[in-house]
Amino acid sequence: MQISMIVNGQTRTDDVEPRLLLAHYLREVCGLRATNIGCDTTSCGACTVIVDGLTVKSCTVLAVQAQDSRVTTMEGLSAPDSELHPVPAAFRAEHGLQCGFCTPGMVMAAIGLLADNPDPTDREVREGLEGNLCRCTGYHNIVRAVRTAAQAGPAASAVPGPTR
Protein backbone atom coordinates (compact mmCIF):
# COMPACT_ATOMS: atom_id res chain seq x y z
CA MET A 1 0.00 0.00 0.00
CA GLN A 2 1.07 3.59 -0.50
CA ILE A 3 2.37 5.56 2.47
CA SER A 4 3.54 9.10 2.80
CA MET A 5 5.57 10.70 5.57
CA ILE A 6 8.26 13.28 6.18
CA VAL A 7 11.62 11.63 6.83
CA ASN A 8 14.40 13.96 7.93
CA GLY A 9 12.60 16.93 6.40
CA GLN A 10 11.88 15.26 3.05
CA THR A 11 8.37 14.23 2.08
CA ARG A 12 8.40 10.69 0.77
CA THR A 13 5.80 8.47 -0.81
CA ASP A 14 6.51 4.77 -1.10
CA ASP A 15 4.66 1.58 -1.86
CA VAL A 16 5.21 -0.86 0.99
CA GLU A 17 3.85 -4.10 2.39
CA PRO A 18 1.75 -3.44 5.50
CA ARG A 19 4.00 -5.77 7.51
CA LEU A 20 7.13 -3.69 6.81
CA LEU A 21 8.56 -2.42 10.09
CA LEU A 22 9.51 1.24 10.36
CA ALA A 23 13.12 0.23 11.14
CA HIS A 24 13.33 -1.78 7.91
CA TYR A 25 11.61 0.99 5.97
CA LEU A 26 14.16 3.54 7.16
CA ARG A 27 17.15 1.29 6.52
CA GLU A 28 16.18 -0.50 3.35
CA VAL A 29 13.71 1.76 1.55
CA CYS A 30 15.08 5.14 2.62
CA GLY A 31 18.71 3.95 2.79
CA LEU A 32 19.18 5.48 6.25
CA ARG A 33 21.46 2.99 7.98
CA ALA A 34 22.24 4.91 11.18
CA THR A 35 19.19 3.34 12.81
CA ASN A 36 20.43 -0.04 14.02
CA ILE A 37 18.35 -3.10 14.79
CA GLY A 38 19.72 -4.77 17.89
CA CYS A 39 17.41 -7.05 19.86
CA ASP A 40 14.40 -6.70 17.53
CA THR A 41 12.20 -7.20 20.63
CA THR A 42 11.57 -3.63 21.92
CA SER A 43 14.22 -4.03 24.61
CA CYS A 44 17.55 -2.54 23.54
CA GLY A 45 16.57 0.80 22.01
CA ALA A 46 19.20 0.73 19.23
CA CYS A 47 16.43 1.44 16.70
CA THR A 48 15.12 4.54 18.52
CA VAL A 49 13.95 7.32 16.21
CA ILE A 50 11.76 10.36 16.80
CA VAL A 51 8.21 10.29 15.42
CA ASP A 52 6.20 13.49 15.76
CA GLY A 53 8.45 14.71 18.55
CA LEU A 54 8.46 11.51 20.62
CA THR A 55 11.05 8.74 20.79
CA VAL A 56 9.88 5.33 19.61
CA LYS A 57 11.48 1.95 18.98
CA SER A 58 11.16 1.59 15.22
CA CYS A 59 11.41 -2.23 15.36
CA THR A 60 7.96 -2.24 16.98
CA VAL A 61 6.18 0.24 14.73
CA LEU A 62 4.84 -0.60 11.29
CA ALA A 63 5.84 1.81 8.55
CA VAL A 64 2.13 2.18 7.73
CA GLN A 65 1.50 3.40 11.29
CA ALA A 66 3.83 6.34 10.60
CA GLN A 67 1.58 7.55 7.76
CA ASP A 68 1.49 11.38 7.75
CA SER A 69 4.09 11.55 10.52
CA ARG A 70 7.36 13.41 10.77
CA VAL A 71 10.20 10.96 11.36
CA THR A 72 13.73 11.94 12.35
CA THR A 73 16.71 9.61 12.37
CA MET A 74 20.26 10.36 13.46
CA GLU A 75 21.08 11.37 9.87
CA GLY A 76 18.47 14.10 10.10
CA LEU A 77 20.05 15.88 13.06
CA SER A 78 22.58 17.86 11.04
CA ALA A 79 23.64 18.06 7.39
CA PRO A 80 26.98 16.39 6.52
CA ASP A 81 28.72 19.71 5.89
CA SER A 82 27.32 21.51 8.93
CA GLU A 83 28.15 21.53 12.62
CA LEU A 84 27.18 18.43 14.57
CA HIS A 85 23.97 18.58 16.60
CA PRO A 86 24.87 19.25 20.29
CA VAL A 87 23.99 15.72 21.41
CA PRO A 88 26.20 13.73 18.99
CA ALA A 89 28.85 16.45 19.48
CA ALA A 90 28.78 15.78 23.23
CA PHE A 91 28.95 12.00 22.64
CA ARG A 92 32.08 12.65 20.58
CA ALA A 93 33.58 15.06 23.13
CA GLU A 94 32.95 12.78 26.11
CA HIS A 95 33.64 9.56 24.20
CA GLY A 96 30.12 8.39 24.99
CA LEU A 97 30.54 5.16 23.08
CA GLN A 98 32.66 2.06 22.82
CA CYS A 99 31.67 -0.07 19.82
CA GLY A 100 29.13 2.53 18.71
CA PHE A 101 26.26 0.17 17.88
CA CYS A 102 23.88 1.60 20.50
CA THR A 103 24.96 5.20 19.80
CA PRO A 104 22.30 6.32 17.28
CA GLY A 105 19.56 5.02 19.59
CA MET A 106 21.22 6.55 22.64
CA VAL A 107 21.54 9.91 20.87
CA MET A 108 17.89 9.95 19.79
CA ALA A 109 16.70 8.82 23.24
CA ALA A 110 18.89 11.51 24.85
CA ILE A 111 17.28 14.18 22.67
CA GLY A 112 13.86 12.97 23.82
CA LEU A 113 15.01 12.97 27.43
CA LEU A 114 16.37 16.53 27.19
CA ALA A 115 13.10 17.71 25.64
CA ASP A 116 11.29 16.52 28.81
CA ASN A 117 14.01 17.47 31.26
CA PRO A 118 16.50 20.06 29.95
CA ASP A 119 18.94 19.76 32.85
CA PRO A 120 18.87 16.19 34.20
CA THR A 121 20.94 14.82 37.06
CA ASP A 122 23.06 11.70 36.54
CA ARG A 123 20.26 9.60 38.00
CA GLU A 124 17.63 11.22 35.80
CA VAL A 125 19.77 10.50 32.74
CA ARG A 126 20.08 6.86 33.76
CA GLU A 127 16.32 6.58 34.31
CA GLY A 128 15.51 8.49 31.13
CA LEU A 129 17.71 6.12 29.11
CA GLU A 130 16.30 2.98 30.75
CA GLY A 131 15.03 1.83 27.36
CA ASN A 132 18.49 1.79 25.80
CA LEU A 133 21.11 -0.86 26.43
CA CYS A 134 24.85 -0.57 25.80
CA ARG A 135 26.31 -4.05 25.52
CA CYS A 136 29.81 -2.63 26.04
CA THR A 137 28.45 -1.26 29.37
CA GLY A 138 29.83 2.15 28.46
CA TYR A 139 27.19 3.95 30.49
CA HIS A 140 29.41 6.32 32.50
CA ASN A 141 30.54 8.32 29.49
CA ILE A 142 27.08 8.19 27.96
CA VAL A 143 25.66 9.84 31.08
CA ARG A 144 28.49 12.37 30.98
CA ALA A 145 27.77 13.09 27.30
CA VAL A 146 24.08 13.75 27.95
CA ARG A 147 24.90 16.13 30.80
CA THR A 148 27.43 17.93 28.61
CA ALA A 149 24.85 18.19 25.83
CA ALA A 150 22.38 19.72 28.29
CA GLN A 151 24.71 22.71 28.62
CA ALA A 152 23.84 23.63 25.03
CA GLY A 153 20.33 24.54 26.24
CA PRO A 154 17.29 24.22 23.97
CA ALA A 155 19.50 23.36 20.96
CA ALA A 156 20.22 19.99 22.59
CA SER A 157 16.61 18.86 22.30
CA ALA A 158 15.94 20.50 18.95
CA VAL A 159 14.94 18.27 16.08
CA PRO A 160 15.47 19.98 12.70
CA GLY A 161 12.54 19.92 10.35
CA PRO A 162 10.23 21.99 8.23
CA THR A 163 7.77 22.61 11.04
CA ARG A 164 10.34 24.29 13.28
Partner: protein, 282 residues
Protein backbone atom coordinates in the same frame (compact mmCIF):
# COMPACT_ATOMS: atom_id res chain seq x y z
CA UNK B 1 11.76 -10.85 12.67
CA UNK B 2 8.97 -10.03 10.28
CA UNK B 3 5.26 -10.62 10.87
CA UNK B 4 3.29 -12.88 8.54
CA UNK B 5 1.45 -10.95 5.80
CA UNK B 6 -1.83 -9.31 6.72
CA UNK B 7 -4.33 -6.88 5.30
CA UNK B 8 -4.14 -3.43 6.88
CA UNK B 9 -7.28 -1.35 7.48
CA UNK B 10 -6.97 2.16 8.82
CA UNK B 11 -10.18 2.92 10.72
CA UNK B 12 -11.37 6.52 10.57
CA UNK B 13 -13.90 6.10 13.37
CA UNK B 14 -15.06 3.67 16.05
CA UNK B 15 -17.91 2.67 13.74
CA UNK B 16 -15.52 1.85 10.89
CA UNK B 17 -13.39 -0.22 13.26
CA UNK B 18 -16.45 -2.13 14.48
CA UNK B 19 -17.60 -2.70 10.88
CA UNK B 20 -14.20 -4.17 10.05
CA UNK B 21 -14.37 -6.42 13.12
CA UNK B 22 -17.87 -7.54 12.16
CA UNK B 23 -16.73 -8.31 8.64
CA UNK B 24 -13.57 -10.24 9.49
CA UNK B 25 -14.50 -11.79 12.84
CA UNK B 26 -11.81 -13.77 14.63
CA UNK B 27 -9.36 -13.16 11.79
CA UNK B 28 -9.06 -9.47 12.67
CA UNK B 29 -7.16 -7.79 15.49
CA UNK B 30 -7.25 -4.18 16.55
CA UNK B 31 -3.96 -2.30 16.43
CA UNK B 32 -3.52 0.74 18.70
CA UNK B 33 0.06 1.32 19.84
CA UNK B 34 1.02 -2.18 18.78
CA UNK B 35 3.44 -2.72 21.64
CA UNK B 36 1.74 -5.90 22.84
CA UNK B 37 0.49 -7.19 19.48
CA UNK B 38 3.43 -6.55 17.15
CA UNK B 39 5.97 -8.44 19.29
CA UNK B 40 3.62 -11.44 19.26
CA UNK B 41 3.18 -11.10 15.49
CA UNK B 42 6.93 -10.89 14.95
CA UNK B 43 7.31 -14.15 16.85
CA UNK B 44 4.35 -15.53 14.84
CA UNK B 45 2.57 -16.32 18.10
CA UNK B 46 -0.25 -14.18 16.71
CA UNK B 47 -1.08 -14.41 13.00
CA UNK B 48 -4.12 -12.21 12.35
CA UNK B 49 -5.02 -11.88 8.69
CA UNK B 50 -6.44 -8.38 9.14
CA UNK B 51 -5.15 -5.52 11.31
CA UNK B 52 -7.58 -2.71 12.03
CA UNK B 53 -5.57 0.36 13.02
CA UNK B 54 -7.35 2.51 15.64
CA UNK B 55 -4.17 4.29 16.74
CA UNK B 56 -5.24 7.51 15.05
CA UNK B 57 -8.68 7.76 16.64
CA UNK B 58 -7.90 10.84 18.68
CA UNK B 59 -11.49 11.04 19.94
CA UNK B 60 -10.63 8.04 22.09
CA UNK B 61 -7.56 9.73 23.55
CA UNK B 62 -8.47 11.69 26.67
CA UNK B 63 -8.24 11.83 30.45
CA UNK B 64 -11.16 13.69 32.00
CA UNK B 65 -13.27 13.90 35.12
CA UNK B 66 -16.94 12.93 34.88
CA UNK B 67 -18.83 13.11 38.17
CA UNK B 68 -17.05 10.91 40.69
CA UNK B 69 -15.08 9.07 38.01
CA UNK B 70 -12.00 9.63 35.91
CA UNK B 71 -12.56 8.59 32.31
CA UNK B 72 -9.58 7.49 30.23
CA UNK B 73 -10.04 7.00 26.50
CA UNK B 74 -8.87 3.66 25.12
CA UNK B 75 -6.17 5.04 22.82
CA UNK B 76 -4.66 7.25 25.54
CA UNK B 77 -0.98 6.46 25.51
CA UNK B 78 0.82 5.51 28.70
CA UNK B 79 3.00 8.63 28.41
CA UNK B 80 -0.11 10.83 28.20
CA UNK B 81 -1.57 9.13 31.26
CA UNK B 82 1.60 9.42 33.37
CA UNK B 83 1.88 13.14 32.60
CA UNK B 84 -1.84 14.01 32.70
CA UNK B 85 -2.52 16.60 35.39
CA UNK B 86 -6.04 15.18 35.78
CA UNK B 87 -4.70 11.68 36.34
CA UNK B 88 -1.94 12.87 38.68
CA UNK B 89 -4.51 14.70 40.82
CA UNK B 90 -7.56 12.44 40.60
CA UNK B 91 -6.13 8.96 39.97
CA UNK B 92 -2.51 9.17 41.14
CA UNK B 93 -2.07 5.39 41.39
CA UNK B 94 -2.96 5.04 37.72
CA UNK B 95 -0.68 7.90 36.64
CA UNK B 96 2.21 6.42 38.61
CA UNK B 97 1.72 2.91 37.27
CA UNK B 98 1.47 4.22 33.69
CA UNK B 99 4.94 5.67 34.26
CA UNK B 100 6.26 2.29 35.40
CA UNK B 101 5.33 0.50 32.17
CA UNK B 102 8.32 -0.45 30.01
CA UNK B 103 10.50 2.53 29.16
CA UNK B 104 9.90 6.02 27.71
CA UNK B 105 9.85 4.82 24.10
CA UNK B 106 7.33 2.08 24.95
CA UNK B 107 5.13 4.53 26.89
CA UNK B 108 5.12 6.90 23.90
CA UNK B 109 3.34 4.21 21.87
CA UNK B 110 1.51 1.82 24.19
CA UNK B 111 -2.14 2.57 24.98
CA UNK B 112 -4.22 1.80 28.06
CA UNK B 113 -6.93 0.12 25.96
CA UNK B 114 -4.38 -2.09 24.24
CA UNK B 115 -2.75 -3.22 27.45
CA UNK B 116 -6.14 -4.08 28.96
CA UNK B 117 -7.40 -5.93 25.88
CA UNK B 118 -4.15 -7.90 25.73
CA UNK B 119 -4.95 -9.56 29.07
CA UNK B 120 -1.36 -10.30 30.07
CA UNK B 121 -1.24 -11.54 33.70
CA UNK B 122 2.11 -9.75 34.17
CA UNK B 123 0.90 -6.33 33.12
CA UNK B 124 1.18 -3.15 35.21
CA UNK B 125 -1.90 -1.14 34.24
CA UNK B 126 -4.45 -3.99 34.52
CA UNK B 127 -3.15 -4.58 38.05
CA UNK B 128 -3.77 -0.96 38.98
CA UNK B 129 -7.18 -0.94 37.28
CA UNK B 130 -8.20 -4.05 39.20
CA UNK B 131 -7.15 -2.49 42.51
CA UNK B 132 -9.09 0.65 41.58
CA UNK B 133 -12.29 -1.32 40.85
CA UNK B 134 -12.23 0.10 37.34
CA UNK B 135 -14.94 -0.34 34.76
CA UNK B 136 -14.11 -1.30 31.18
CA UNK B 137 -16.46 0.29 28.64
CA UNK B 138 -16.75 -1.82 25.48
CA UNK B 139 -18.58 -0.95 22.29
CA UNK B 140 -19.99 -3.52 19.91
CA UNK B 141 -22.52 -3.71 17.09
CA UNK B 142 -25.42 -3.36 19.54
CA UNK B 143 -24.01 -0.50 21.57
CA UNK B 144 -21.96 0.01 24.68
CA UNK B 145 -21.72 -2.12 27.79
CA UNK B 146 -19.80 -1.75 31.04
CA UNK B 147 -17.72 -4.62 32.38
CA UNK B 148 -16.27 -4.54 35.90
CA UNK B 149 -12.50 -5.06 35.88
CA UNK B 150 -13.06 -7.87 38.39
CA UNK B 151 -15.05 -9.69 35.69
CA UNK B 152 -12.96 -8.69 32.69
CA UNK B 153 -9.78 -10.76 33.00
CA UNK B 154 -10.90 -14.36 32.53
CA UNK B 155 -7.73 -16.33 31.91
CA UNK B 156 -4.28 -16.35 30.36
CA UNK B 157 -4.53 -13.65 27.65
CA UNK B 158 -8.30 -14.16 27.75
CA UNK B 159 -10.77 -11.37 28.50
CA UNK B 160 -14.53 -10.82 28.51
CA UNK B 161 -14.27 -8.75 25.32
CA UNK B 162 -16.15 -10.32 22.40
CA UNK B 163 -14.49 -10.62 18.99
CA UNK B 164 -16.77 -7.90 17.57
CA UNK B 165 -16.25 -5.46 20.44
CA UNK B 166 -13.61 -2.85 21.21
CA UNK B 167 -12.68 -1.05 24.40
CA UNK B 168 -13.55 2.63 24.16
CA UNK B 169 -13.02 3.84 27.74
CA UNK B 170 -11.75 2.91 31.16
CA UNK B 171 -13.44 4.43 34.19
CA UNK B 172 -11.93 4.59 37.65
CA UNK B 173 -13.21 6.27 40.82
CA UNK B 174 -11.64 9.60 41.71
CA UNK B 175 -9.31 8.66 44.52
CA UNK B 176 -7.71 12.08 44.96
CA UNK B 177 -5.90 12.09 48.27
CA UNK B 178 -6.58 8.44 49.17
CA UNK B 179 -3.29 6.68 49.91
CA UNK B 180 -1.98 4.16 47.43
CA UNK B 181 1.03 1.96 46.82
CA UNK B 182 2.53 0.15 43.86
CA UNK B 183 5.44 -2.22 44.26
CA UNK B 184 6.95 -3.97 41.27
CA UNK B 185 9.81 -6.42 41.24
CA UNK B 186 11.83 -6.72 38.04
CA UNK B 187 15.32 -7.68 37.01
CA UNK B 188 15.62 -4.67 34.69
CA UNK B 189 13.52 -1.54 35.04
CA UNK B 190 11.87 -1.91 31.62
CA UNK B 191 10.80 -5.53 32.18
CA UNK B 192 7.39 -6.90 32.97
CA UNK B 193 6.90 -7.46 36.71
CA UNK B 194 8.05 -10.81 38.08
CA UNK B 195 5.43 -9.95 40.70
CA UNK B 196 3.72 -6.62 41.41
CA UNK B 197 1.22 -5.45 44.03
CA UNK B 198 -1.11 -2.46 43.86
CA UNK B 199 -2.95 -1.21 46.97
CA UNK B 200 -5.56 1.52 47.30
CA UNK B 201 -8.51 2.09 49.60
CA UNK B 202 -8.32 -1.35 51.26
CA UNK B 203 -8.11 -3.19 47.95
CA UNK B 204 -5.07 -5.12 46.72
CA UNK B 205 -4.31 -6.54 43.26
CA UNK B 206 -1.43 -8.72 42.17
CA UNK B 207 0.36 -9.18 38.84
CA UNK B 208 1.84 -12.45 37.62
CA UNK B 209 0.57 -14.61 40.50
CA UNK B 210 -1.89 -16.54 38.32
CA UNK B 211 -3.15 -16.84 34.75
CA UNK B 212 -4.67 -13.38 35.17
CA UNK B 213 -4.08 -10.32 37.29
CA UNK B 214 -6.10 -10.97 40.43
CA UNK B 215 -7.38 -9.44 43.65
CA UNK B 216 -5.82 -10.58 46.93
CA UNK B 217 -9.22 -11.17 48.52
CA UNK B 218 -7.84 -12.84 51.66
CA UNK B 219 -5.76 -9.73 52.35
CA UNK B 220 -8.73 -7.43 51.74
CA UNK B 221 -10.99 -9.46 54.05
CA UNK B 222 -8.34 -9.51 56.80
CA UNK B 223 -7.90 -5.74 56.55
CA UNK B 224 -11.66 -5.22 56.67
CA UNK B 225 -11.73 -7.43 59.77
CA UNK B 226 -9.20 -5.25 61.54
CA UNK B 227 -5.98 -7.19 60.93
CA UNK B 228 -2.69 -5.30 60.88
CA UNK B 229 -0.94 -4.69 57.59
CA UNK B 230 1.68 -7.32 58.41
CA UNK B 231 -0.96 -9.92 59.33
CA UNK B 232 -3.03 -9.20 56.23
CA UNK B 233 -0.04 -9.14 53.86
CA UNK B 234 0.96 -12.60 55.07
CA UNK B 235 -2.18 -13.88 53.30
CA UNK B 236 -1.26 -12.39 49.91
CA UNK B 237 -0.33 -15.70 48.29
CA UNK B 238 -3.63 -17.38 49.26
CA UNK B 239 -5.70 -18.36 46.26
CA UNK B 240 -2.86 -17.72 43.82
CA UNK B 241 -1.24 -20.20 41.45
CA UNK B 242 2.05 -18.63 40.38
CA UNK B 243 4.06 -20.28 37.64
CA UNK B 244 7.72 -21.18 37.82
CA UNK B 245 9.94 -19.91 35.06
CA UNK B 246 13.47 -18.70 34.37
CA UNK B 247 12.88 -15.58 36.50
CA UNK B 248 11.48 -17.12 39.67
CA UNK B 249 9.91 -20.29 40.98
CA UNK B 250 6.42 -20.39 42.45
CA UNK B 251 7.57 -20.31 46.06
CA UNK B 252 9.72 -17.25 45.44
CA UNK B 253 6.77 -15.54 43.76
CA UNK B 254 4.59 -16.29 46.79
CA UNK B 255 7.26 -14.72 48.98
CA UNK B 256 7.35 -11.66 46.71
CA UNK B 257 3.56 -11.36 46.80
CA UNK B 258 3.59 -11.18 50.62
CA UNK B 259 6.52 -8.78 50.72
CA UNK B 260 5.32 -6.44 47.97
CA UNK B 261 1.76 -6.42 49.34
CA UNK B 262 3.07 -5.36 52.74
CA UNK B 263 5.16 -2.59 51.20
CA UNK B 264 2.29 -1.40 48.99
CA UNK B 265 -0.11 -1.34 51.96
CA UNK B 266 2.45 0.51 54.09
CA UNK B 267 2.92 3.11 51.36
CA UNK B 268 -0.85 3.48 51.04
CA UNK B 269 -1.35 3.95 54.77
CA UNK B 270 1.65 6.19 55.38
CA UNK B 271 0.55 8.84 52.94
CA UNK B 272 4.05 8.60 51.52
CA UNK B 273 2.76 7.24 48.23
CA UNK B 274 4.63 8.33 45.22
CA UNK B 275 7.34 7.41 42.88
CA UNK B 276 9.89 5.38 44.79
CA UNK B 277 12.37 6.40 42.13
CA UNK B 278 13.25 9.97 42.96
CA UNK B 279 13.65 12.65 40.43
CA UNK B 280 11.69 10.95 37.71
CA UNK B 281 11.17 13.42 34.85
CA UNK B 282 7.55 14.40 34.59
Amino acid sequence: MIPAPFEYVRAGSVEQALDALAEHGDEAKLLAGGHSLLPLMKLRLAVPSVLVDIGHLHDLSCVRVEGDQVVIGATTRQHELETSSVALTEAPLLAHVAGRVGDPQVRHRGTIGGTVAHGDPASDLPTALLALDAVVVAQGPTGRREIAATEFFLGFFETALAADEMIVELRVPRTGSVGWGYEKFTRRENDWPIVAAAAVDGRVALANMSGTVLRATAVEQALAGGASIAEAADLAAEGTSPSSDMHADGEYRRHLARLLTRRALEAASSGLSGPSRSGRPR
